[in-house]
Symmetry: C2
Subunit: 204 residues, 2 copies
């Protein structure tokens, strides 16, 4: 069965999956779910597609679906060059995937979503403190990435893996969340290496 | 080499690792790092043990360390009954590990840490809104778990895996974060199944 990806056009958690599927040359169907209009919380979506009410969702068969963008990346990358076979290197990939969902995405992606999709502004008294906190935490995540890339071409084992795909997703859109990436030169150089990979596709 | 676990006594992210190591009957050294006193941000800890400045850290050799509690769980559980071999079941385990770090731990664990370790109170005007937001999100995570356990003895494939260990950690301490677990009877029944597992150890 051909995979179906349920996603939202402005979500880089969905873009990660699209990029990997393209680089693996796996064809897939795509269904847009407008999360801003609440389409991930409807009676059709919730019980059948994802009881947690989030996108992306990868439908593998008519009865089997997977959620959590980084779990989907691991599922698709297994037995491909995008996920090393050696045990410690695999663990390092997983380490960066959890780092991304804990320290990076909740700050940088959320800040971008608030501004780009919900039109919240730092000048609104109601949002100021929350946005500043996310900005500080996002800067810390970018600093950790930049420091690592000072001595490494990629995140794990000197080759391009799902750790890079996962971290590239929201980092390459961080300027839309208000971050100045010129402060992180090693990240900018890493972008260039990623964008030269075979079957690289831009965010639409 | 014997593993060394760097942890903090009140952290259930560390308890997860201790529980799995005990159930795998793997001996290990333990080093306490007092995060409240800033010991995870010192010049000795940061560059050598973990540049991200978090615990737990598992030192595998004198030069190799792993961070992110759930990445450590995967590393230790590979090729054991705690992580299925079948590809889709493995992906479902990873899905719950990411759910825990994204929707569960940042709400339930943080709320517990604020109250238990930093002595913050809901009655403080400064913390009220933040604590209420985390409480609402924590309740949503517990509801999703309880719904899943209504028809499943464990989180994946009807057997005890690292998905259960990972979610048990902060859930069985959720009352210390102000949650009333009597509202989640399927979670309470699942606790009993976990606590009967071979080599189960309580949180110290």
């Amino acid at each position: 069965m051909t995979y179906t990806l349920y996603g939202y056009h402005a979500s880089d958690n969905c873009y990660k999956i699209k990029l990997l599927l393209n680089q693996l040359e796996i064809p897939f169907h795509y269904k847009e779910v407008d999360i801003v209009k609440g389409e991930s919380r409807t009676e059709e979506f919730l019980p059948q597609v994802n009881p947690v009410g989030c996108i992306p969702v990868l439908a593998i068969s008519s009865t089997a679906t997977l959620t959590e963008s980084n779990a989907i990346l691991i599922y698709l990358a297994e037995d491909t060059p995008f996920l090393p076979k050696e045990k410690f290197k695999r663990a390092q990939v997983f380490q960066w995937l959890f780092f991304e969902q804990y320290k990076h995405e909740p700050n940088i992606a959320t800040l971008r979503f608030w501004q780009k999709c919900l039109n919240r502004k730092k000048t609104d008294k109601q949002w100021k403190d929350k946005m500043e906190e996310k900005f500080t935490n996002g800067e810390e995540a970018l600093r950790i990435m930049n420091d690592h890339l000072m001595n490494n071409a990629y995140f794990v084992g000197n080759s391009y893996t799902i750790a890079d795909i996962c971290l590239y997703a929201y980092t390459h859109k961080a300027h839309e969340a208000g971050f100045n990436l010129n402060s992180y030169p090693h990240i900018l150089q890493w972008f260039k290496r990623i964008e030269k990979q075979d079957n690289y596709v831009k965010f639409e």
